[in-house]
Symmetry: C2
Subunit: 431 residues, 2 copies
C-alpha cells in the first residue's frame, strides 16, 4: 500500500518530537497503520539544520507544504492562533487531512474547521490538543462511544497542578511554587495562560463537545485560576480530608451543560486527588461504565508526539473521528445556577458570637454546615487587630444562594478581610 | 447507510447488558457509528421471555444466528470455551465479523481466531475481554500505537483486588475476605479461577500480545494466586510503605518477554496501590508517553456491554483492530531469570544471632538488604515455641539467586516455619 505522506508545519518541541518518533518506531508504526507513515515536507519559520529530517524537503513557507502534491496529511505543530487557522483552512481547501496539537485552534475555531473538513471530505484529528500523552479524545469518542456521558472532571493543566502539588508538599506560597515551576520549565515567563485557567478552559470546551455531542463553545466556560489559593487553604482542606486541585468540570444536568474551570476541594480518598506534579488525569462518569480514570503526562515533546502519531495512524487506516457537535447547542448552565458544596475561609475578629452570626445567615438561606474548623488567633499586620480564620464546609447549595449569604457575611463587622470561597466536588456517581 | 445487523449469541449478564445498552443509547450510537446498530437475531440455550429483544428473532440454536443472511456481525457473550471456539470458527466460515467478551477464548484460541478472520476477511474485536469497562485494548493498540511499550502492570482481576482490599482495610483473613466477596457476588462459589490467578493470566497474555506484537502464549505466563497472603503480610508491607496488590506484569527485556501474575508489593505513593475494591487499573509504560494509567470497572453487565458496543461501533465504521502477533514468538523469560526486589517474612526462633545468620547468607549471594522489621515475639500454637517474624526487603536481585539463598535460610535451625516471599515492583521508569 502507498505510504501516508505527511507535511509537517512547525518544528518546535512537538514538531521535533513527531520527527523523532516517526523515525524511531517506523516499523511498528507501519505495521499498525497498515502502511508506512513518512514525512515528505517540513515547514518552519526558521531552518533547524540540527534536526534530521530524513530526506524531507524543507521550506520556510507553509504554502510549500499545503500545496505540495506529495502530501496527504498536514500536521500542525506551530501553536498560536492566526497562522494555524489560516493553515487549517488552506489545508482543507487543498483536500488534505489535518492533524493538530493546537488546543486554542480547536477550542476557538474547531467548529469552522470541522465544517470545512466535512465539505472537503477530509479527516481532522486533534488527540494531542487535550491531555498530551493520554489518549483521552479516543477514549471519549470511541472507547466509550456506547455510553451516555454524565460528567467529566479533570486535571488538565500540568502547570497549575505542579504549583498546587508543590504548595501542598512544601507549604510553599503560590508565588514561590510558581517561581519553582518557572525554574523547572513547567511554567512560562508569563504564566497567566496556565494559572488563570485559560489553557484548561480550551481543553475543557473540547472535552465537553466530544462528551455531549455539542458544538464547541469556549466562551461559555466559567474560568477561575489558582492565584488566590493560599498554603493555609491547602492545610485547612487537608484537615477536613480534602486536597485542592485545579479541575475542569463539565456536566450534563436537566438544566443544560455545565462547563467550569476552577480550584476544587476533592476528597483525599479519590484517586484524582492523588495525581501530583505536571501529570494530567481525567475522570469520565458515564451510564454504562460508571467512573473511569485516565492519567498520564499532559505535555512534552514525546507525549504530544505520541498523540499526533496515533492520529496519523488513524488517518492512514481511514479511521475518522466520529462526527460530533450534532446536538443543537443546548442550554449552558450559568455558574450562578450550579449546585456545589463550598469551602469558606472567613477572616473574623476574635470575638464571641462571630460563628453564631455567620451560622445564622447561612441558615436563613437554608445552607447547612457540614464541618467547621476554628483556628488559633492571628494578628493582622496592617491594623494590629486580633482575628481568627473560621473555616466552614457547607452541604450542597445553589451558588446564587451561597453568594447572597456571602455578601451578607462579608458585611458583618466581625469579618475583617475578604472571604475565600472554593468549590467542593465529591466526584461520586451523582457528581 | 444500511444498519449494522448484530447476531447475539448468549443472553446471560453481558448479553442482556448489550441488548439494554444498544436500545438505551440507540441514537447516539448510530451517530457515532455512522449507521444504526440493531440486533436482528439472538440465540441462547434457554429462552428468556423477560428480556425485551425489540423484535429480534430468537432461537435456541447458534446456527440460526451464524447462518442467517440478516446478520453482519456475531457477538459472543456465552462464555466458556468449546462452544465459543466452534462459534468463532463457524462465524468466520460464514464471513461474519466477530466480537467477543471471552478472555479464555482469546487467550487460548486467539491465534487460531485471528488467522481464520484474516483468511475470511472479517474483523475481530475483543475489548470486553480485558478490564471490562476500560477501553484498554483500544488504548494499547490505537491510542499508544506510535509507542514502543516497555512494560505493563495491572490489577486485572477484580475478585482478587476486592479480597486484598478487604484484608487491608479490616485486617480480615483471606478466608473471611473471600467469604465476604462471595456473599456480595464478587466471587464465584468455586473461586479458584480468580484467586489462583488464571483469569488474570488470560488477560495478561492478551495485553502482552497486543503490547509487544507477539503471538498469544497463555501457557508461558507464570501464575501465582493470592491464597498465601496473610493479614500480617499486608500489615508489615504497610509498615514498609507498600500495599500488596495482585498484578499481571509483562515486560520487554533484553532477554525476551516476561509474563507473570502474582501478589506484588507496590509503593503506597503509586496510584496503582490505591486502586481498591473490584476496580481494575492498568499502567502502561512506553517510550514516548512514559507512564499512563487506565482505571475503571473490570466486569459487570453494563461495563462489559460498553466494551462490546464500542467494538460494534468500530465494526460499523470499518475500523479493524490493527494487526498484531506479527513478531515471531520471542524468547520468554522464565520466572527464575527475572530481576525483582523481594519482601521476605521469615518465622524465626527468638534467639540472638538469627538476623546475623540470615544476613550472612543473603550477603554471600550478593543480595543486599533495603530494610528490616523485627516484630515482637509470638508463640507457636502447635509447639509452644517462642518465635519472631523477621521481615526483610531486599534490593533487586535475580530470582534464581534469591531462591538459592532462601533454600539455605529455610534450613537454618532458627527458622521455625515456611518463609513467605512476595515480589516488590516500584513501577518507576525502568520498571
Amino acid at each position: 500500500m502507498e505510504p501516508l505522506r505527511v507535511g509537517l508545519c512547525g518544528l518546535g518541541t512537538v514538531g521535533q518530537g513527531v520527527v523523532e518518533l516517526l523515525a524511531r518506531n517506523a516499523s511498528s508504526i507501519a505495521r499498525r497503520a497498515g502502511r508506512s507513515v513518512i514525512i515528505t515536507r517540513v515547514a518552519s519559520r526558521t531552518p533547524k539544520p540540527e534536526v534530521d529530517l530524513a530526506g524531507a524537503t524543507f521550506s520556510t513557507r507553509l504554502d510549500d507544504v499545503v500545496r505540495a502534491s506529495d502530501v496527504d496529511v498536514v500536521v500542525e505543530t506551530m501553536g498560536g492562533e492566526a497562522a494555524a487557522r489560516q493553515l487549517m483552512s488552506d489545508s482543507c481547501g487543498a483536500a488534505k487531512h489535518f492533524v493538530t496539537a493546537n488546543k486554542a485552534l480547536i477550542a476557538l475555531h474547531g467548529q469552522e474547521l470541522l465544517a470545512a473538513a466535512r465539505n472537503a471530505g477530509v479527516m481532522v484529528r486533534f488527540e494531542a490538543a487535550v491531555a498530551g500523552g493520554i489518549p483521552i479524545v479516543k477514549a471519549l469518542s470511541e472507547g466509550l462511544a456506547g455510553n451516555r456521558i454524565h460528567w467529566i472532571a479533570g486535571i488538565i493543566n500540568g502547570t497549575s497542578n505542579y504549583i498546587l502539588s508543590a504548595m501542598a508538599s512544601d507549604g510553599a506560597s503560590f508565588a514561590d511554587a510558581l517561581a519553582s515551576a518557572q525554574a523547572l520549565g513547567y511554567a512560562e515567563a508569563d504564566p497567566a495562560f496556565d494559572v488563570d485557567g485559560i489553557d484548561a478552559a480550551h481543553k475543557l470546551s473540547i472535552l465537553s463537545a466530544l462528551a455531549f455531542d455539542t458544538p464547541l463553545q469556549f466562551d461559555a466556560v466559567y474560568t477561575e485560576g489558582i492565584g488566590a489559593i493560599t498554603a493555609e487553604d491547602i492545610e485547612y482542606a487537608a484537615a477536613l480530608g480534602y486536597r485542592i486541585k485545579h479541575l475542569g468540570i463539565t456536566r450534563r444536568t436537566s438544566a443544560g451543560i455545565e462547563m467550569r474551570v476552577h480550584p476544587t476541594l476533592v476528597p483525599e480518598t479519590r484517586l484524582l486527588s492523588r495525581v501530583d506534579g505536571v501529570t494530567n488525569a481525567v475522570v469520565i462518569h458515564s451510564d454504562a461504565v460508571g467512573a473511569s480514570l485516565y492519567c498520564g503526562p499532559g505535555a512534552g515533546a514525546l507525549p504530544s508526539a505520541s498523540a499526533v502519531v496515533a492520529d496519523l495512524i488513524d488517518v492512514a487506516r481511514g479511521n475518522a473521528l466520529p462526527a460530533f457537535g450534532q446536538d443543537p447547542a443546548p442550554a449552558r448552565v450559568p455558574i450562578d445556577d450550579i449546585e456545589s458544596a463550598y469551602y469558606l475561609r472567613i477572616p473574623a475578629a476574635d470575638q464571641p458570637g462571630v460563628m453564631a452570626r455567620v451560622a445564622q445567615i447561612l441558615s436563613s438561606k437554608e445552607i447547612s454546615i457540614e464541618s467547621v474548623i476554628q483556628r488559633e488567633q492571628a494578628i493582622r499586620a496592617d491594623t494590629g487587630t486580633a482575628w481568627v480564620p473560621v473555616i466552614i464546609l457547607t452541604h450542597r447549595v445553589i451558588e446564587r444562594d451561597l453568594n447572597q449569604a456571602l455578601r451578607e457575611i462579608q458585611q458583618l463587622d466581625d469579618v475583617v478581610d475578604t472571604i475565600t470561597r472554593i468549590r467542593v466536588e465529591t466526584l461520586d456517581a451523582d457528581g
